[in-house]
Symmetry: C2
Subunit: 507 residues, 2 copies
Amino acid sequence: MDDFIFAEEITETQKISLKPWKILISDDEKEIHTITKIVLSNFIYENRKVEIYDAYSRSETIEILKEHDDIAVLLLDVVMETDDAGLLVARDIRETLKNNLIRIILRTGQPGSAPEKDVISKYDINDYKEKTELTTTKLFTTVMTALRSYRDLHLIEKNKKGLEQILESTRRIMQFKSSALFADSVLNELIVLLNLSKEVELKDNKVNAMIVDTSNNQFNKIASKGSFENLEGEYLFTKSITDKLNKAISLGQSYFDHFDYVGYFKNENDMVNLILISSESEINQYDKSLLDIFSNNVAVAFNNVHLTHEILDTQKEIIETLSEVVEKRSKETSNHVLRVAQVSRFLALKYGLPEDEATKITMASPLHDIGKTGIPDSILLKPDKLTEEEYEIMKQHTQIGRDILGRSTRPLLKAASIISYEHHEKWNGKGYPNQKKGDDIHIYGRITALADVFDALYHKRCYKEAWPLEKIIDLIKGERGEHFDPKLVDIFLENIDDILGIVKRLS
Amino acid sequence: MDDFIFAEEITETQKISLKPWKILISDDEKEIHTITKIVLSNFIYENRKVEIYDAYSRSETIEILKEHDDIAVLLLDVVMETDDAGLLVARDIRETLKNNLIRIILRTGQPGSAPEKDVISKYDINDYKEKTELTTTKLFTTVMTALRSYRDLHLIEKNKKGLEQILESTRRIMQFKSSALFADSVLNELIVLLNLSKEVELKDNKVNAMIVDTSNNQFNKIASKGSFENLEGEYLFTKSITDKLNKAISLGQSYFDHFDYVGYFKNENDMVNLILISSESEINQYDKSLLDIFSNNVAVAFNNVHLTHEILDTQKEIIETLSEVVEKRSKETSNHVLRVAQVSRFLALKYGLPEDEATKITMASPLHDIGKTGIPDSILLKPDKLTEEEYEIMKQHTQIGRDILGRSTRPLLKAASIISYEHHEKWNGKGYPNQKKGDDIHIYGRITALADVFDALYHKRCYKEAWPLEKIIDLIKGERGEHFDPKLVDIFLENIDDILGIVKRLS
Ligand SMILES: [Fe+2]
Ligand SMILES: [Fe+2]
């Protein structure tokens, strides 16, 4: 990693809005305040004026310091309401307020009462001056060297804060597995980072940001913030914006351009994601450093999220492909298992199951009839009605499925085993293989049962015509509390349009 | 995140080994060096003495500073070989050496030639003293306040360095997907972190470290460094070590204990990993802060690695389970597909394919006969020899497999499609379905062909006995350059013992 960049480069527009240095005078003599202010009235250091605060006692000094944690220099009298009020202030600052940045210049009118060597050794102060010593020039140079020390400390502290924020942001984005949540989280963290430096600016830094992927030779927004949020299509991807994005693609890397940053992220499979940030104020050196460092982490995290997705998608395809093999053999309608999976997911979420459970049902339910691989062709493919004996063999596909899948301890395969075993049980206890009743049937089984029967009726099969919708609805209503869980039937009937939408999309 | 801990807590043993502060005197008058050394001879600040370096010119000063980047204070004469030699040194330090930490105290004998206000404004120095002003006390307090500033800067800088290192370490560990590589990388980074603070210590910090998992109610080492590296079993998990590990388990969290750190990492599936670090020097406050912050990231990364593994293992089990279903139907010996997978992996690696290709073959090869699901029972299960016509139908399992798997764009399924399509081609062009020859047959197909035939011969099937090994070897030798790729046959024969080991383990 490059060393975190130290230099600050300040543009002309930024100079105007720079905040002044804060200086606190703590002295019980009013005159000292007046004189000090006159001397420092035209003081400018690194393009910043000074703003002076006044305190006349120990408690007042501490109050003001508590309110302003960004006071750079304290000009501190030793003797105020007590002989050692100033020394106690110095101790309070370091030990109680834990302020190690403020530079403390002790000013004493009676050097005898607080000898220099003693005081400097015992108290964590940064300069010691006798009041007589403070000619105009001396005060001026003393304040300037104190500000210089404060600036140095403050700059490293600011860099340290930036690194802390990057670390925290990195930890947060690492926790998201889904690309949409991940992308959203990356943008949130980028905005936090870009607002870290606002202390230099007077106004808040308004930031518009989005992440796009570049698959199918076009830009697709996967997350956005600010003014990009409500725009889509040609309203979002104007010529000006696509030009910015394309520049990163032709450069093959991230770049900064005054108010813009375009991050370029290519993963191990050569897929490119881009992040566009358009800030309302110029992106300064500090912001650039933060963005550079954070982007390195985003790149790794992007790759991880992509790999996880790739594996999960592959897993889904394997299950669907192999389920389809089974389905083909028993001459089910094409895509039957995909439709059962998606309708099951829909019912699971409406039923109130959490997202990860719904996902498990979606992934596992295609395997519900895997046990049919153990049923001989002569029964499975028999065009006529099965005999009593043949039907008993056919029913065994539930146990065969449970046995095939149940040897694994993986949550997904365990779920598939349950679904295979219980998808022919009925709410009223008249199903098979175990005549389980009501809630004793696993919710996975109850959900898949309804989705499976619905899709089988809704589509034509070699041995039967498709049923008309009204007839299916009548049957399902009639089976409320008989074949099917009544709560699921209610959900089904209330959402029939959505369910038909899912089924039609996959027919 | 908690703010990075600022305080340093120094033990008595550490005090003794603390390094001195480095101070550089840059002056062309030898006498000034002598006097300064006398004044500072008994100087102690924060339990550390001073060590003084001497330079007599601009170039000498810069040389010494290049060699020692940890000099805290420079006592700098203005007029040396030229009137402004000192001022140029100050500029070189900040602009050329980019050293912003060293505190520069300018000492001038002729204040008229370098007026205070001018010099302080133009040069990035931290104090300005006329030589006459430097009484014993004044020199003493001036050096002390300069060291105090340096200490403040240095401490934040050190914390910043720690954060930078944590960031870099985090990025590195995030890139590992396999738990063994990940664990090894975590230990490497922990050792780097624990050696960051060695500047306080005189000796290198020797660290012994290991990561264990706690599955099956016992500790299993998954990575180790230092003296833990060559130990296993009871020699590693002595009572003293298991006590330390068990303490973290009963606390349910990480803890520090003088020379030891035990990190406790529980993932979303409630699996616990532990990291034990035994350092030869006491773990100080700074190390603790680094370990605490880094551990938070390790925890997230651990969880990610675990999830990826869980998904991959699930994927592997799904493929194996479903392949076994197919295998069962065609009455192959149990575990045939697992053995073909592992023998294929072995051959792939010896052939010189990279790790990820070998993994792809391992994952995909169980699906080589998936097309048999499209072959009717009457042919697939026929006990007698197939007729010419039936054999032609049987051969179609290669194309059926290609079609089932080939609709996907996922690399794993594409590989499985290739294997399914080409595992019956022969090197001499006499295979099926396309009579491909030599290198025209995909390496996936060539490898799986050999592994498949070998395992089929080696095991008993319903229609044949297992062949004796010598007979199999004779056949494979005879088919070198006929059925099989000659290079693969050579690899096979050279490694027959390893291959038999794999096969026997899975029989
Ligand atoms: Fe079924
Ligand atoms: Fe085959």
